[in-house]
Symmetry: C2
Subunit: 202 residues, 2 copies
DNA sequence: GAATTTCACAGACTATAGTCTGTAATTTAT
DNA sequence: ATAAATTACAGACTATAGTCTGTGAAATTC
């Protein structure tokens, strides 16, 4: 069923708010943009803003959710013949490049900050669930074909790998732009995985 | 030189504020305590509060910094005959027990949140921290005596190990009390270190 | 198609972290 | 000892995220 007139208008309002907000955020940085400014630029109101978003953070959180599309696209275009180890490394690299170039450090910082506010909808844990599933499929496969050790369960290993990613992203937000996100994440994941390989290669 | 009368009074005021604040935080949680409430209970004022602290967060941050005393005490009571691997594992375990039992999840959550606010005094990301120095000394020793591989520098390894700690603490703050901080941190550090050992043992 | 209900929105209002200015007590200078 | 300077503090003020209430247009009910 298509949208009613009222729903169409509401959607347009929401889109105007998002467009104005993201534009302002990119120009001035999240912390230097006020909600009043956003509603003024988008010709809306506080009332409208908080109908569509529960907080100022949610604008960024909504943008952050788009990463699920990236994950889907990634799995579709992944060569079958890669080892599980290589798949996890490539996923990490592609993901970090995406986060750095498409979303940016200010968004990640904001998402990682807001995730620690109590009673906030758990976006980070939710979107990370998609990531968790993908990583888990690689880990499971790797244990199944004897590439990885089995002294930890596939769930436990997956948790550790995604924790490496969160830890690296947190450090990126913490140390700032001079931190090489792609390089650091590769180094970290390579190291943690090397302890799990059955075959020693260096 | 000892404190002047004015400095003595100022110190007393600061201590009254800290005592009142920590008491209120532990009873109601950081987010449900206002600065107005703190200054009322401590019989001081906003002016006094912001002379002694740059933000509400800084009360917790100051408490958090006490961990350096814990680290110093730890190194003093550490048996010499342990391997570097065991030292790092024990440090992690003791540290996490300290954080869990003496500081608590609300404090860690607050510190990890506030560290991401721009222009905030950088304690977590300060690589001169006692924690970095201690871990680095163990790593250096371990590389020196042939226990650890040398394909990464001691600084890089130290950074990865402390990143594991930060990642685990972030996850604790994120997932809450049901997350077993001590167990999870041991699992994580054991795994990352196993990839660095020259001698394979399982 | 008139009456009722819903809801997207406007904008006034509230809560609270943090700032600013004046002051009195202490410290320093002369 | 007196004058000048400093500073810890009090409390009014500001900035801003988020809430609350009223309204008119759209949707639904009869």
């Amino acid at each position: 069923m298509s949208l009613s007139l009222r729903q169409q208008k509401a959607l347009q309002t929401k889109q105007r708010i998002v467009a104005a907000a993201l534009d302002l955020f990119s120009k001035k940085g999240f912390d230097h943009v006020t909600v009043d400014e956003i509603v003024q630029v988008s010709n809306t109101s506080k009332g409208a803003f908080y109908v569509h978003f529960n907080s100022k953070y949610e604008i960024f959180l909504e943008k952050f959710k788009e990463i699920d599309e990236f994950y889907e696209n990634f799995t579709e275009t992944l060569p079958k013949e890669m080892s599980s180890y290589e798949k996890i490394l490539l996923l990490t690299k592609s993901q970090m490049i995406y986060l750095k170039d498409c979303l940016g450090i200010d968004l990640i910082r904001t998402v990682y900050m807001s995730a620690l506010i109590p009673n906030q909808p758990k976006f980070l844990s939710n979107t990370d669930r998609t990531l968790f599933k993908i990583v888990h499929s690689f880990v499971y496969e790797g244990q199944d074909n004897g590439e990885f050790k089995k002294y930890l369960s596939s769930q436990e290993i997956t948790m550790l790998i995604t924790r490496c990613m969160r830890g690296t992203l947190y450090d990126w937000a913490l140390f700032g732009e001079e931190f090489d996100l792609v390089e650091e994440s590769q180094k970290f994941i390579r190291t943690i995985l090397s302890g799990m390989l059955t075959k020693v290669d260096n």
